[in-house]
């Protein structure tokens, strides 16, 4: 029994090692004095300093984050409303066909979506730039949010909602007091999925950037012709650390809230 346990631990360790080794490798080399990833040449912070002086790259990072946050926020709102609407449809045929249309957008290749956006925007004479990138990111994020929120709505079922309306709750109250709190985890995961999709999207973004506006993935890809400088490693290191802090922070926040909720529940029990 204990033997099998150890083996599974080893397997887990191996999987994580394989997943994280490239990232660690990248970060380690961001401290190398050399100019390439072939040999480590001794410790330095120079690439981080170069990064700080590269205003263009910093602007692009800020723009990328802005696009990611804003587009996933708007997509989450639209997607959640969409999921509510789909959940309301009574005829299974309508619901299934809307869902299939939604899923087709998720599986169709990014290149095709990007090219069609480019043709669409230029046909409407919308100049490429911030707006077009934002709009296309919102568009490809919405189906993901719908897909994340819908299962939670199914789980909720109809009994709670009918109970609430039987007890005299208005539609607004049902939405804000029953449905939204229940599906919050789905909304949050939809938001974070949209965020990651937007952050690392290259194919769609490439087609719709223009007029001085660019995002990180497009910029890094274009720099690859000359070989990627270690400045990019330094940037990746910082972003990785940032993501790590966010995830760990989110975990502790959750723990804290859960503890508080537990304590409150205990106290109420004591009072009773």
């Amino acid at each position: 029994m204990t033997h099998r346990f150890k083996l599974s631990n080893l397997y887990l360790f191996l999987v994580f090692a394989v997943l994280y080794a490239p990232i660690l490798f990248l970060i380690v080399f961001s401290f190398s004095q050399g100019d390439s990833m072939s040999h480590f040449h001794g410790f330095t912070f120079s690439h981080y300093l170069a990064l700080l002086n590269d205003t263009r790259l910093i602007i692009i990072v800020l723009q990328t984050l802005l696009i990611a946050l804003l587009s996933s926020l708007i997509a989450t709102i639209i997607g959640t409303l969409g999921a509510l609407g789909i959940n309301q449809t009574s005829r299974p045929i309508t619901r299934n066909s809307i869902l299939s249309l939604n899923n087709i957008l998720i599986v169709s290749p990014d290149v095709i979506i990007g090219a069609s956006f480019l043709i669409f925007f230029t046909a409407l004479k919308i100049p490429l730039g911030f707006t077009t990138v934002l709009l296309s990111h919102i568009a490809f994020s919405i189906p993901i949010v719908v897909l994340m929120v819908l299962p939670k709505l199914r789980e909720l079922g109809t009994s709670m909602v009918s109970a609430a309306s039987d007890l005299g709750a208005s539609n607004g109250q049902i939405l804000s007091k029953i449905i939204l709190p229940y599906i919050t985890p789905g909304i949050l995961s939809g938001f974070f999925m949209a965020l990651t999709y937007s952050l690392d999207d290259f194919a769609v973004t490439f087609f719709v950037t223009g007029n001085g506006f660019s995002t990180l993935s497009v910029e890094i890809y274009s720099r690859a012709r000359q070989g990627i400088s270690l400045e990019i490693n330094a940037l990746s290191g910082i972003l990785f650390l940032f993501a790590l802090v966010l995830v760990v922070g989110y975990y502790f926040l959750n723990q804290y809230q859960q503890n508080r909720r537990l304590k409150r529940a205990n106290r109420e029990e004591d009072i009773l």
Binding site: D35, S36, M37, S38, D54, T55, R56, I58, I59, L62, Q63, L65, L66, L69, L70, L73, L118, I119, F121, T122, K125, I126, P127, L128, T132, S176, K177, L180, P181, T184, I187, L188, F206, F207, T209, G210, N211, G212, F213, S214, V218, E219, Y221, S222, R223, A224, R225, Q226, G227, S229
Partner: protein
């Protein structure tokens, strides 16, 4: 509900903050008034210090945007919706863009310093009399060898690659025109041939090279060569100069019988708007001291004769990257072939790659 609302507000606040700081940074890095120039360039293909210098000298703010392939750039410009003022296509792409009416002719009367350019690199077949383009950088295709296992005299010509002793020792750059091209040159044929029979013969000859070919790879070739994974490679001069900088045992040879001569030229696409800024920038880049600084930063060969004279002797006299007149006379520029011929090239090349594995 409250939690969702506060999250929403929080994210909105972060967005405002991000937008504000991005704007602020943009305005400090140059004034964002109407005096702008939109440069659409290859990634990391200009010395950033020169952009700063240009902005200080002229007061124009330069927006740099980057692309990673000629084809991608072509699509973006053709589709419109952008306002790029200058871009840097390679030779065959200039021909293609010209044919598609995507280029605006240069007004030579507004150019100063065009005479600084080496006459050998102007008036090329892809743009007769430079009606549309100003040469930016040029380079060649050649053989890279490692002096630890290969003697220089062993690889001076394309045909040397076929020697049985190089079994499994050569890496090729994954590029249709270049790989078929050097096979064509080795048979004394034009790199722009449209004759199917000659192309088939070139492919048959390449198939005989197969035992010597270790791999057909793209950008990674630089890393493999620096790491001594193979002693021989066929690649472009720009890539070669980077490999040599990282591994002093590597050397670059342009076979005297001929090879490809490539150009990246500055052109004005039809999307251009800021003509004053465009000519200010072209004239700025034609100045010998600026062109020399750029060439030293990028490591490619400059077509600017006066700039070359300003380069350090070690670079200027390097026969690897500034080959002799006799070799240059034998170099060939790719022309834009018909889609049908390009299809034939691609098919034959693909067959060669399939054969290899």
């Amino acid at each position: 509900m409250k939690r969702l609302l506060s999250l929403l507000l929080g994210i909105a606040a972060i967005c405002v903050l991000l937008a504000f700081s991005a704007n602020k940074l943009q305005s400090t890095s140059g004034d964002s008034s109407a005096k702008v120039l939109n440069l659409y360039n290859w990634g990391d293909y200009i010395d950033p210090a020169l952009i700063t210098k240009f902005q200080k000298e002229t007061g124009y703010h330069v927006n740099v945007e980057t692309f990673d392939s000629n084809e991608a750039m072509f699509t973006k410009i053709k589709q419109g919706g952008t306002s790029y003022d200058l871009t840097v296509p390679s030779d065959y792409m200039i021909e293609k863009m010209r044919a598609a009416h995507l280029l605006k002719p240069l007004d030579k009367s507004r150019l100063t310093g065009f005479a600084n350019l080496d006459a050998r690199f102007t008036n090329q077949s892809f743009d007769p009399h430079n009606r549309y383009s100003v040469p930016y950088f040029w380079g060649t295709l050649g053989i890279i060898y490692n002096d630890q296992s290969i003697k220089p005299e062993e690889v001076q010509h394309w045909n040397d690659l076929w020697q049985p002793k190089f079994k499994n020792k050569i890496m090729l750059i994954d590029s249709t025109r270049d790989v078929l091209g050097f096979s064509l040159v080795s048979m004394n044929q034009s790199m722009n041939t449209t004759n199917p029979a000659i192309l088939k013969a070139a492919q048959a000859k390449l198939n005989r090279l197969s035992p010597n070919v270790k791999a057909v790879v793209a950008d990674e070739i630089k890393m493999y060569m620096t790491e001594n994974e193979a002693p021989l490679a066929v690649d472009w001069s720009g890539e070669a100069s980077e490999m040599i900088a990282n591994n002093p045992h590597l050397h670059y040879v342009v076979p005297t019988e001929g090879s490809n001569l490539w150009f990246d030229n500055l052109v004005i696409p039809k999307t251009a708007k800021h003509y004053k800024a465009i000519y200010a920038f072209l004239n700025f880049m034609l100045k010998p001291e600026n062109a020399a600084q750029n060439a030293e930063y990028i490591g490619y060969a400059t077509p600017n004769k006066k700039a070359k004279a300003l380069l350090p002797k070690s670079i200027r006299n390097d026969k690897q990257f500034y080959p002799s007149d006799r070799t240059i006379a034998n170099l060939q520029v790719y022309s834009d072939l018909s889609p049908h011929t390009i299809g034939l090239y691609n098919d034959l090349y693909l067959e060669f790659k399939m054969n290899h594995h």
